[in-house]
Amino acid sequence: VARDEVLAKLRERIVRFAASHLARDAAEDLAQEVLILLHEKYGHLETPEDLLPLSLQIVRFKIMSQRRKSARRGEYTQVSVTDLPLPDLEPNPEDAFERKEMLQRLSRAMARLGDRCRELMRLKLQGKTFPEIQKIMGAAAINTIYTWDHRCRKNLLELMGGKWEA
């Protein structure tokens, strides 16, 4: 798939995703900024496996940045995307605090999972792939592991209150 084609699809997806968090105009501007950043700073990346996770990371940073800015200023109205700083992508104190809080919530929720889910999560955190997990857990088919994983993630998400972030 050509890089331009991937970027065009990415833009469409980012606009629609950002529109659920920001105003439509801001979402358009946000997607444009992401693409500019991908073009100028990450021009060597071409495949969706590289571009999509990176673009999602940028989008998340920008949306979080806007939320913090609105909260600090007491603003809950639309903020022009031109006022948003370009993401640093390096950990900052606020991010570190949020990640630490999320990690604590994850720890508490995982401790409450059932035995099979705990084992599955443990194997995934150890870096095992699904086929490897299938062998270790003795499942007959890989789809069984997919189904267990889907249920365990759903259970974990419920234990965390329905969303990963606080």
Partner: protein, 299 residues
Amino acid sequence: MTPQEARKLLGGYATGTLTQAEQEALLAAALEDQDLFDEIAREQSLREVLADPAARASLLGALNEPRRRWWQSWQPWAAAVAMAGIGVLAVSLRKPPAAPVEMARVEPPAAPKVDLSAPTPVAETPRSPAAPRKRKAAPISEAPQAEMAKNEAAPPSPPAPKAEAPAQAPLPAASPRSSFRDSAAQPQVQAFAVRSAALPLSLRYTILRENGAVRLRFTANAPGYLSVGGATPVPMVLTQPYTTPALTGDEVKVIFARQPVADAPLGLNPDIQERDGETYVTNLAQNEPLVFSIPLKQP
């Protein structure tokens, strides 16, 4: 791979444990499907946390700890103790059910005194097909019998109230009119006898003036005996009016009791109300005869 099949791989995106082929399939599907893209975007924060080796180690430590069973937590025990405490408190504060209070008791009326030495006319009630047996009427004097004949229907003797009223008899009516309403609303005489025994005695009367003669027409709210101007008491039947013979004088004394009473002192404070040309008199003192006087102003 369809988006539905690719969605099964979502769990490996955050942990970064997808194979190369799985990752390519998932992300390619996400570029084509907005819902899948949104789900991956929501996993991004978890992916970033789990990308930190220290965070992974911390979570692995939490997973390696033995799972706490429900009985190993203090919350269920605290809840159980709290519920038990509430139960004990509720039982200790619960009042025992109150014993039923007897509100009224009606003594059976004493049999009217009859002078056995004097010849007493005995009236026989006409036989009916349904009641072939002879029944002797209650002993009454001649005067009331004659008066009752004028009223076209001889009132039978008042039904004797039951020896004992129910433990929770109805309270007395609030007013003379309501007393009459309560009495008239009872469809069964037997039930009324029980109920009226607890009602205060009440009379409704109208002064009738015809050709210079003054008569009084009474209606009682309960069975009893009525004496007007010192005359021999006549039995009164529920809602059946009784009209006196022509009366003379400026005032006449009326006595209405559950038992035949020829004379009694005037009541202290009978309740008297007038409405629609009729006068309602009620004895506020329950279980005592209703005694009052009616001024007869001659036209």
